[in-house]
Symmetry: C2
Subunit: 314 residues, 2 copies
């Protein structure tokens, strides 16, 4: 099991992460499932999580987005069209299943009995865990979109294979995303026009927020160049909050992303004018916002400041 | 890709399933994702789904269960303790991830470029998709439970690898489960005492309901014996509704299950008297109930009978 944090050298950041994790576990906000970055969540977590989600949806209500929900797995064919494996192989996760008969099953169980691994008895199932909740939407929008563009309200499971003891970095989490597909201008307007409202929503939760240019965690040497290009082109802004104070960099809890023609090209989506469609996505990291709230205000929401409770309708 | 339905011989049941699937897709209740048993869900689906879930929770409110939520994946170690791979290998799904360096990544991409499968570049990640939402709870309850027992309210993702064109049989779905861990008597009371209320809740939705002894789909030849034993011991009751009329058997949309000491033994849970704990689980199949409602009343909830709308607070 690879753990991204060092376990022998303890930095101030390591200690701050360990302290938050210990508090969340001791106060029964999260429950350790025995694998880094996977937690059970209790009633108090769910209560705040639902309040965060409701407030996020309310802040985007005027968009009148079409609601779409997707399962936590996606067909391999759809995954392939996003080229995710080229950019983020280390975060991807594929699914295998058993397709054998009684005899193959007995062989699997015999190997298991001997203490051997039995995954080699399974076959790839042509399914991947969904790494980004907005990916499936582009495959559904083919051909020419209406003049005014399209808006989608999508919430779903994301899985990224990065086991970590940082409670702000889960392997399985949820994003609530508001996606627009339209022209270069309307995509940029969707991304930029909403940044002040998202910032003030998160600040209303009593969180200290900065909006910073950011990059996705592209893999490897080529990835370093892609990441630099992304920052230079100002494609991604993150809403960050100093969960660990001075011990480390502020952590992203939401983002505003311009994809330019990336998905329009990959999925052959065109505007009414016959140009390649552009897209943009506003994303709320639901678990990260929730945990940032517990980190900022403590594990008992009844004792949170009155204006924070009001902003969350708690 | 294995599809459980024959594609050449068309029975009355096949035709009924295909007709319901076509209606749900044409009326934009579900969206085809290109893999049997995986669908996108639109606003109208989510509206009914949330109403079903809220009504189910309300019907169990007096239990004052502890809320627990789990991610769609579970650690292999936890999965192993349930012995699921021995009984249901064909439904299980394991997760693999890429752990290589830049060079291995280039080899993966080269294989992909040649049109070859690239899953062999991934390694087992010690994670499984969760096949049953109540499984993780037993690992969290260790040692001796309180005299009065424990109650849990769990909702989560289930994944079962059974690709099907029957819209009532999804690969990824959600169950809302109410679990009790206690004595043999209290477990049986939790299971049996709630059956009339569950039946009347589902009948209040305007569904024709029968409660029948049932079995889990144990794998292989030995599985046939296990299934028969389960029925004979009356361990599982299913709430079934005739989604396809006379064309096929009624479909289960909820269940009431007695595990006896199965999980108490596997997870070393004991009662205050020092005996092995028993457990029972009441499970609402949220997507199945929702789709049964669309099948029974049509795809426009505004036109559903007034008493059904009232029961669902629509």
């Amino acid at each position: 099991m690879t753990i991204t944090e060092p376990t022998t050298v303890s930095t101030a950041l390591d200690r701050a992460r360990a302290a938050l994790r210990a508090t969340l576990l001791e106060d029964r906000v999260l429950i350790d499932l025995g694998s880094p970055g996977l937690y059970g969540r209790t009633g108090v977590f769910e209560h705040v999580y639902a309040a965060v989600d409701t407030a996020a949806v309310r802040s985007m209500a005027d968009l009148q987005s079409s609601v779409l929900r997707f399962p936590p797995v996606e067909p391999l064919a759809a995954f392939e069209r996003t080229d995710y494996i080229a950019s983020f192989p280390d975060l991807a996760a594929s699914i295998s299943a058993f397709t054998g008969d009684d005899r193959a099953h007995r062989a699997l169980l015999a190997a298991r009995e001997r203490g051997e691994r039995w995954e080699s008895f399974l076959e790839p199932a042509d399914l991947m865990l969904a790494p980004a909740v907005c990916h499936p939407v582009y495959g559904l929008v083919t051909g020419t979109i209406p003049q005014q563009g399209l808006w989608f309200d999508i919430v779903g499971d994301s899985f990224r294979r990065e086991p970590s003891l940082d409670p702000m970095r889960l392997q399985a989490f949820h994003m609530h995303e508001f996606v627009h597909i339209g022209t270069p201008d309307s995509a940029k307007e969707h991304r930029d026009g909403r940044i002040p409202a998202m910032r003030s929503l998160l600040e209303g939760f009593g969180l200290e927020i900065d909006v910073v240019p950011a990059n996705d965690p592209f893999f490897g040497r080529v990835g370093k160049i892609l990441a630099r290009n992304q920052v230079e082109a100002s494609l991604k802004y993150e809403f960050v909050t100093p969960v660990y104070g001075d011990a480390g960099e502020a952590t992203a809890i939401s983002s505003a992303n311009l994809h330019e023609d990336h998905f329009g090209t990959s999925f052959s989506i065109t505007t009414a004018d016959g140009e390649t469609a552009h897209s943009a996505c506003l994303a709320f990291g639901l678990e990260r916002i929730t945990i940032a709230l517990f980190a900022a205000h403590g594990t008992d929401p009844a004792s949170w400041p009155a204006d924070v409770r009001r902003a969350l309708a708690l």
